[in-house]
């Protein structure tokens, strides 16, 4: 007969509620068995360096999206699909993306996006960005119509002739040559003046220097000879500003005030602030340009490569000479831009070293354009042909390269 206690218990316990042991088994199973489909997964997202980029995310379960501007985390359900897009901030570029220790960079599409999933576990995503370093060639040229604050540098080489604008009009004709130091040599005539030169010319020497942001020429002319049996040797010095202007009748010339002293046959003459307007040689020029080239090179061993920046420059002077400055290490920062100094170049035109020309860019910042970089800000300082100047890079004309 099965009316045992067990039978009675089974019959007695054949009720609607699970038994206590069953409850414990169920709880244990919940703990041990894999989570059901609605369990949360959390990924850590690290962005380095801080404020260098953005991670845009979207999950399929739950359906959600957002973006992380700094390191953080995202949570979603197991087996969700997770879209991550890694976007650098302005001035930065994407370098690498890691999923835990695995380099995931190559799997990203052209937009820096990858879809992970179905996702099962917790991971750490590391997004590495780096400051963009402008490389390439950036050129500026001296503007045709410069602001008053920008000092001109002139090459006075050329021929000067005219008729003096006085009642006693005398024809003059001079050839001048100016060297890399701004030193001038010349030969010429003034109608009626004697000369000790074989070709009847008067010898001229002098220099051009910058004073108060303005080029100023100083010339000395000498002649020896006699007139009517009397000594008529002369020595005259004159100095004045070099500033091309319209001096009337469609002529470009140097207009300003000159100081002079002269001694003619022992008689001294001198004066200052004499207003003059002398037609300029058509060869006179103040046009020049400079191109800076920055290149990134990888140096060091294959196992320990290091990226370094190198800069070089080419200067085209107002006299047409090309001066090349050799490559040297440079550094860049996003806020400070480039600080570049170039001296002791090689005058390619003359085929000799150039120790007189120097060019410096300070805090040269650049902005990225569609096909490269453009100079945006900073200062430029320049020394050549015996003269100098400084100004903001934004006052110069950008030169496409």
């Amino acid at each position: 007969m099965s009316n045992t206690r067990e039978n009675m218990v089974v019959r007695g316990t054949a009720s609607r509620w699970p038994s206590r042991p069953g409850l414990w088994c169920f709880a244990l199973a919940l703990l041990l068995l894999p989570a059901p489909a609605w369990a949360a997964v959390t990924w850590k997202i690290k962005i380095t360096p801080a404020h260098s980029g953005l991670v845009v995310w979207a999950t399929s379960s739950p359906v959600a999206s957002g973006q992380l501007a700094t390191s953080g985390s995202i949570s979603f359900n197991e087996n969700a699909m997770v879209d991550l897009t890694f976007t650098p901030n302005d001035g930065f570029e994407r370098v690498a993306v890691y999923k835990n220790t695995t380099d995931w960079t190559a799997y990203l599409d052209v937009n820096g996006h990858y879809q992970f999933g179905p996702v099962g576990g917790a991971h750490t995503i590391l997004a590495v960005f780096a400051e963009k370093t402008p490389t390439g060639t950036f050129g500026v040229s001296f503007p045709a119509d410069p602001p008053a604050s920008l000092a001109s540098v002139y090459d006075l080489t050329g021929h000067y002739e005219g008729v003096s604008p006085t009642p006693h009009q005398r024809a003059y004709s001079f050839d001048l040559a100016q060297d890399e130091s701004g030193k001038i040599m010349g030969l010429g005539t003034i109608a009626g003046m004697p000369s000790n030169q074989a070709d009847g010319k008067i010898s001229v020497a002098g220099s051009v220097k910058t004073q108060q942001d303005e080029p100023r020429a100083s010339l000395v002319s000498t002649c020896t000879g006699t007139r009517d049996g009397e000594d008529a040797s002369c020595r005259a010095t004159a100095s004045g500003p070099v500033d091309l202007q319209d001096i009337g009748d469609g002529l470009l010339g140097a207009e300003g005030e000159v100081d002079y002293t002269a001694r003619v046959a022992g008689v001294p003459f001198q004066d200052r602030d004499v207003p003059v307007a002398i037609p300029a040689s058509p060869d006179i020029s103040r046009a020049w340009s400079v191109a800076f080239t920055i290149a990134k090179r990888t140096i060091g061993s294959p196992t320990r490569p290091v990226s370094k920046l190198y800069g070089s420059a080419e200067l085209i002077l107002p006299n047409g000479d090309h001066v090349q400055f050799a490559e040297r290490p440079v550094s860049y920062s996003r806020r400070q831009g480039y600080n570049l100094t170039f001296t002791r170049g090689q005058n390619i035109t003359a085929g000799r070293p150039d120790t007189k020309s120097k060019i410096m860019a300070r805090k040269m910042t650049l902005t990225e354009t569609g096909d490269g970089w453009e100079v945006q800000g900073g200062d430029l300082m320049y020394w050549f042909l015996g003269q100098r100047g400084k100004g903001r890079l934004s006052d110069f004309t950008q030169v496409g390269r």
């Binding site: 040559a177 002098g206 009517d228 022992g266 602030d273 005058n347």
Partner: protein
């Protein structure tokens, strides 16, 4: 007989008088030719310039010289001041704000220096008080040419104007006045906190005031102004004073240990405007200074200083012993301005130069020596055989235009048959600038 001798006497005196007149006119003509190139001086108060003057020999020379200078200055001044306008029209044009500044500037000068009526003074005063900065600067400078006593106070008051341009104009005007008190005020600016442009202007203009006070102000300025553009202007101005007074300062700058290369170069080159007494110092620097950059500047400056001309022997010795090619180049350039250069000694040195710039500079010196005469025929022939072909080649080469023209200059200076033939060839080359320079050397 007596009548005949009397007539002869009269003719003799007439001849002498004619000679004096001819000389005077000749000197006037030459002086005018100088001024015809350089322009016309303004009128107004006496010129104030550094006292680097050389007195003409003899009382007659001084008398004639002063008279000629006054005559020429008066003629030139009249020419510059002459306009087809009446005084009233000049005034009206000056007051017209649409008149270009350059014209208003000249009109301001006319009003201050020549017209000088009460209306002119009032117009200038009004412009000084209420005009735009550029006009105020121009008027301030023009007032320095006037004889109005109050102009001095007006200009002194402008030294504290907020606009640098106006202050600079006031400085230019005050320098024309140039009394000791004014000079002291300008001297105070040198070491002050005023804008650099103001201090440079003060330094520059002090160099144009011929007075002990100006000299002292500049010397004091040298002590307080750090190296830079202001000190550069101070040194340039000191260079215009007689070297006897400035030698201690320049010696310290050039040979002392306090100053950088730029200051030393600037100091040496400032002496191109000093008195002839600076020439021996420049030679000393070119010979002895340890820095070749300084020797180079001194060699160049010696060729321009008013004491140049008699240094041929010394420069040749230096060139023979100088190891730096850039220094030798400037020594050769200085030799162009010397007399009695021994071309026979110079020619082998130049032929032995490997550096093209030094060779061309040396060729110019040799050519100038040949033109000066007293050179052996052998040197002339060697010049024609060795240097002329090279100068011809350089003038046609693709090197710098500066070097090509200097090669042309050497050919022009020499005046030998071969150099003239070379010039004829160059007059037909493709580069119009070289061709023109060569053509200018042909008869």
């Amino acid at each position: 007989m007596a009548a005949a001798s009397g007539q002869t006497g009269v003719r003799a005196w007439g001849g002498r008088l004619g000679a004096v007149v001819a000389v005077t006119l000749g000197l006037s003509l030459v002086g005018l030719l100088i001024w015809s190139l350089l322009g016309v001086p303004p009128s107004g108060r006496a010129v104030r310039s550094p006292s680097v003057r050389e007195r003409p020999g003899g009382w007659l020379g001084r008398l004639v010289g002063a008279g000629v200078a006054r005559h020429i200055r008066g003629r030139a001044e009249a020419a510059r001041l002459r306009t087809s306008l009446t005084d009233a029209q000049v005034l009206a044009r000056f007051l017209d704000h649409t008149t270009p500044l350059a014209t208003r500037r000249l009109d301001a000068w006319r009003l201050a220096a020549r017209i000088r009526t009460p209306a002119a003074k009032a117009a200038l005063r009004q412009a000084l008080l209420s005009g735009p900065p550029a006009l105020r600067a121009v008027v301030a400078e023009a007032l320095g040419h006037s004889d109005w006593p109050e102009a001095r106070e007006w200009l002194l008051a402008l030294l504290t104007a907020p606009e640098t341009e106006v202050v600079r104009g006031a400085i230019r005007g005050l320098a024309l006045i140039g009394d000791d008190e004014v000079v002291a005020r300008l001297g105070d600016l040198l070491g002050s906190a005023a804008a650099e442009g103001v201090r440079v202007e003060a330094a520059t203009r002090l160099g144009e005031v011929d007075s002990e006070a100006a000299f002292d102000a500049l010397i004091a300025g040298l002590e307080v102004v750090p190296e830079g553009e202001v000190s550069e202007a101070v040194v340039q101005s000191l260079g215009r004073f007689p070297f006897a007074r400035t030698e201690p300062a320049f010696r310290e700058m050039v040979f002392g240990s306090e100053y950088g290369v730029e200051t030393r170069v600037n100091a040496v080159e400032a002496l191109t405007e000093s008195s002839a007494a600076a020439a021996p110092f420049l030679f000393e620097v070119a010979a002895l200074h340890a820095d070749p950059a300084i020797r180079e500047s001194a060699a160049w400056a010696l060729g321009l200083n008013r004491g140049t001309g008699e240094w041929a022997e010394g420069l040749l010795e230096l060139a023979a012993a100088e190891p730096d090619v850039d220094v030798r180049r400037r020594l050769y350039e200085s030799l162009v301005n010397q007399v009695d250069v021994a071309a026979d000694r110079l020619l082998p040195m130049v032929v032995g130069e490997a550096d093209p710039d030094a060779r061309v500079a040396g060729a110019n010196a040799v050519a100038a020596a040949l033109a000066g005469g007293g050179t052996s025929e052998a040197s002339r022939q060697r010049f024609d055989a060795v240097l002329v072909p090279e100068l011809l080649r350089i003038a046609q080469s693709g090197g710098t235009l500066n070097m090509r023209l200097r090669a042309v200059f050497a050919l022009r200076r020499a005046g030998t048959a071969a150099s003239r033939a070379a010039l004829a060839v160059l007059a037909g080359v493709a580069d119009p600038r070289v061709a023109a320079a060569a053509a200018h050397g042909l008869p």
